[in-house]
């Protein structure tokens, strides 16, 4: 079982975590076209390489970000969303 390092709780078994998918920038709903909004809702990029993902440590309900290479499944870094630039 994979180990994921939670920025708050330290290294824990992956079954304590829930993935909330890649971080996406929502377009401004006031100006975005219908097509752009639909793309935001439904289109997953799913490109090989490093993605920034939302993860939840379920017992503590803590959300954080992880940089993960989705080809090798290696997690390069995990950090609190407050540290995101």
């Amino acid at each position: 079982m994979k180990i994921l390092t939670c920025p708050m709780n330290g290294p824990r078994n992956i079954d304590e975590f829930q993935s909330f998918g890649p971080m996406r920038e929502a377009p401004d709903p006031e100006v975005a076209s219908d097509a752009d909004w639909a793309r935001y809702l439904f289109q997953a990029e799913n490109q090989p390489g490093v993605v920034v993902e939302w993860w939840r440590h379920v017992p503590s309900n803590y959300f954080f970000l992880a940089e993960r290479d989705i080809v090798t499944n290696r997690v390069l870094r995990t950090f609190d969303p407050g540290e995101a630039e």
Partner: protein, 938 residues
Amino acid sequence: MSRLPEPWGTRIDRTRPLRFRFEGREVMGFAGDSIASALAADGQWMLSRSFKYHRPRGILSMAGAEANTLVQLPGQPNMLAERVALCEGLEVRAQNVSGSLARDRGAVLDLLGRFLPVGFYYRSFMGPGKDAFLRVWEPMIRRRAGLGTIEPAATGGEFIAAHLHCDLLVVGGGLAGLSAAVTAAEAGADVILCDENTMPGGAATWQREGAAALPGLLARVEAAPGLRLMRKTTCNGWFEDNWLPLIRDGRLWRTRARQVIFATGAIGQPPVFRNNDLPGILLGSAAQRLMAHYAVRPGRRAVVLATEPEGYRVALDLAEAGVELAALADPRPGGSGGQMAAVLRRRGVEVIRATVEEARGRRHLKAVRVGGRWIDCDLLAVSAGEVPAWQLPCQAGARLGHDEATGRFRLSLPEGPLGLAGAVNGRGGAEAARADGARAALEALARLGGPAPAPEPAPETAPGAFALPVAAHPKGRDFVDLDEDLQVKDLIHTVQEGYGELELLKRFSTLGMGPSQGRHSAAAAARILAQATGRTVGEVGVTTARPPVGPEPLGLLAAGDAPVERRTALHGRHLALGARMQPAGAWWRPFQYGDVADEVAAVRQAAGMLDVSTLGKLELRGPEAGAFLDRLYTMAHANQPIGRVRYCLMLNEMGTVIDDGVAFRMAEDRYYVTATTGAVARVYADMLFWNAQWRMKVDVANLTSAFAAINVTGPRARAILQAAGSSFDLSTAAFPHLHGREGEVAGVPVRAMRIGFTGEVSVELHCPASRAVPLWEALTEAGKAEGLLPYGLEASRILRLEKGHIIIGQDTDALTTPDELGMGWAISRRKPFFVGKRALEMRQRLGLSRRLVGLRFPEGGKLPGESCLILRKGTPVGHVTSIAQSPTLGRAVALGYVHPEDAVEGTQVTAKCRNGTLVAAQVMNHVSFDPDGRRQEM
């Protein structure tokens, strides 16, 4: 029953004879015997009939993995006869036979083999008629090819799971593993050594070489402080970040190791020739194990096939045990057993420069043909090359390559906290294995932060492998995979069918899918496929190794994972009242206490109370709590006055309704919000997920378990609360509909909310869970004079359906918008943003495709059930979502989706009952009872 004299037989206790039965016949063995060894000592070599052709089969490896040795024990099918320890009175039966093992009626299939080519079942069992495979053929095949019989009445065993942690896990307790484990433990590491045998030592326990080194190593194992030796324990897989299941009987240790060393040895590969599956044809190591461990003489007259020096050692051991050596076949050009060959020659053993071409015999080996000459024998011991035990290392990311020059298979590990030691690393033989174990341990210690850099690995010791030719015999019966009864021609036909890749070949032919998982077929299959497709063995490779390595009881997978079951603080009260309990998600809730109609009537005419403790309860605090709720829910909450309760409706980003509840503003910066029982976990997670992105000044606490809640409802509800003693004024003027109060009822601190719920005056009392029972009892007491009844889930459903209140998830689905529900009133038009707003606007532009309405059916007629279709000109447009008999109205009340043009009161629509009957229904207002809502606002 004759056994070899001591010191042969290290595992048996000759002072403790045991009696057991095989196929109804009494057999004697000794304590320490396995079923297979005791039967072999008795001369019973045939243990089973093969899967497809029902051919006689017996011991091949004595390592315990092949279908050959599967036997039926009482209530336990598919037990490995080479592994199960003998016990007094054991009833053992052969599997996969019709009639008896000796006279199996299924053996006729062996003669019909040419009508059953590889993959025949993919094409042969198509008709007659629909589902013919499931109706006719599958049961027939199952009877014919099934293995053991399960015991349907079996109660299951005791299964326990636990967790282990260590610095280093060494898998395999041969010389390499022992040496690795003691080296690391003596350096201070916390080490687990697991070995699947009763005694560690691996090949050193059955081979002379290394036997001298064993006692010293075992003494060091004993003395090392940080070393845990786990015998009879199988490592059944490798999972990410060194997470490995260790299994012994009904116990599973989920083990996390900082470093792992695989010292799993190598697997002997049997040669392929006609009738190579006869009982009496054994791997050399199996013959050695029988003699050394169990004092069983594996035959009277033997031929040894050797393509490596090890075979000569086997021959010497056999000779020493009094087995007559008819010949040794060594087909290697210029191959030699060195000094051992000289010893054999002195004993007059003929060495033939040829391989075994064919064998003969009915139920046991009678003769083999070597170099064109038939030689009588009842034992053929083969030592014809091995493959590193690749399963675990390959799961951990290793690749099994093939060196075309030397003919050897070799493993290469990826960078990481992993090591290989001994024969699995190409360093077989006692001294090399021991040195390699120590080296692997030093490398692991260095990776753990230890000081010493490890020495370079010694050169490989495995001899250059001589690949025996594998050509299909014209008459077949040259088996590559004994588990699956696959012959050389089957693989060649599979390639001709177009399955030229090993993974495809496996799926079409079932190669390697049996219990031994290709352990003894890997080398031959790779060579056959390489030849047939003009590639190298390395290019063909082996099939992907996946956990589990061997079979494991399903009970182990469930061990330690007890189902989650939640009970409210009032659970005991419900049981005492004789409630019928029903699961609702993880919760247990009272379905009904007595007659549902009485419970409904009590609420409508007097009062009822319902345990609503399972409701989600969330408290939001912070200066931006109101603004946060505004972004999350569709209604306006930031402007909600303190002390007021407001309905709240949640959409997802697609504009679909996903939850509802009420929000009670307790203070400027504090809201108490309810969510539905099933959705609260998700709503709570979503709230924090959104705020991880929005970074608003609000904190969310999940009080679902901390608070219990009781809904008191009915015309007499207020009087009951009064009688129980309330610290706040309950009059309509002081505490109107959709208001909330904090105070005490019957001395219990409560958050009280006046809400719709049943359509009568309803006060929901939320209190600390620890105080729920006194509150319930005080209400019961106060309600006696008022006709108060506790009501259950079913009465609640009917009461709410009479009022047209929807149940999210039952009356809604993954596409339901608020407009379809007629809940446009719950959408704030003024807010610039809430989750789902943008998608909702887009969907509004597309127009409505359905509407949820009330439905009325003719009195006394047939009624559709929930999820029955609603038709419009014969085409489905929606379905009935909820339906129940209303005791209040004396008729059925229902909700369902209809075409938007039909959503006008009085329109006739058609519903289709489950049996196909069409019934007319009249579209009604959602709210069947008290549509103006006067009763709840009193």
